[in-house]
Amino acid sequence: MRRVLLFAFALVVAGCDNQSMQQQNRYDTYAPSKLWPNGSEAQPLPAGVVAQGDLARARNAKEPPPVTNSLMRTGREDFDVFCSPCHGLAGDGDGMIVQRGFPAPPSYHTDRLRIAPASHFFDVITNGYGVMYSYAARVPPHDRWAIVAYIRALQESRYAQIAGVPRAREKMP
């Protein structure tokens, strides 16, 4: 009988622990810690450290990929997704966000942006420009170049020299 009672007691005691996983043996974010010399759980990156893929990204940023049909399609897709809410599908700077009060971006069809070098567009996507924020975290370098190529297509579409092009005049109204 004593043994049975002891056994039952042990079972009941085992139920007393708070097993809700709220309290765990770990550091909270930015908690103090005696483990490191700077006394904090959060450690800064050692000097000279780079993220995985950084070098490849830097290389891609420097070398524009050749403009092919598929790159152009990527550019169109990405432009429509990331840029058109503000810049408009045709690049006039009249997207829905602007209709609703965001500062209007300049049209891509101005003289200034028509003669701007491709690197300018790339840099604007990478670093942002004025009130426009950076898209570096959302658009990888290869796709940034694709968007730049598509912006050139938008500019070509608006004002194209079709004098020397055979059959072009037939299509005109």
Binding site: L89, M96, R112, I162, M172
Partner: protein, 130 residues
């Protein structure tokens, strides 16, 4: 052969067996008890459906507004229209323009050399964007 039978183990097999079986029986009883308890206690599932709250009324029909705006902008990208008939400058559909940029090959990223403003050189609007 007096001693060829295996030695009896020095463990109280019975006690171990009873403990194990007792444990299993305890679990089984607990499960049955909890099952009965819950089915008695919980009459209906407590599920509060999420209550959607009204969107801010800035547009009467935002989906239609966006569709209309995008249709206008797509339309702009699908037309042939003259800009300057004498100089052969026109607006062309975007697919055509994409092909033309691809066809420039190594030059594809370069600015498009085309003076659209008839009477002033490119960039002569004092840096203003429009």
């Amino acid at each position: 052969m007096p001693n060829d039978r295996p030695e009896t183990p020095g463990v109280a097999t019975r006690a171990v067996l009873f403990t194990a079986i007792g444990f299993l029986v305890f679990i089984a009883i607990s499960l049955v008890f909890l099952r009965v308890y819950y089915s008695e206690e919980i009459r209906q599932t407590i599920f509060v459906p999420p209550t959607p709250f009204a969107k801010p009324q800035l547009q009467t029909n935002d989906v239609a507004d966006l569709a209309r705006l995008q249709a206008e902008q797509r339309d702009k990208l699908s037309r042939f229209t003259w800009v300057d008939r004498e100089r052969g400058i026109a607006t062309i559909p975007i697919d055509e323009a994409m092909n033309r940029i691809v066809a420039r090959g190594a030059n594809a990223y370069a600015p498009i050399e085309l003076n659209i403003s008839a009477n002033r050189p490119i960039g002569a609007n004092g840096g203003k964007s429009r």
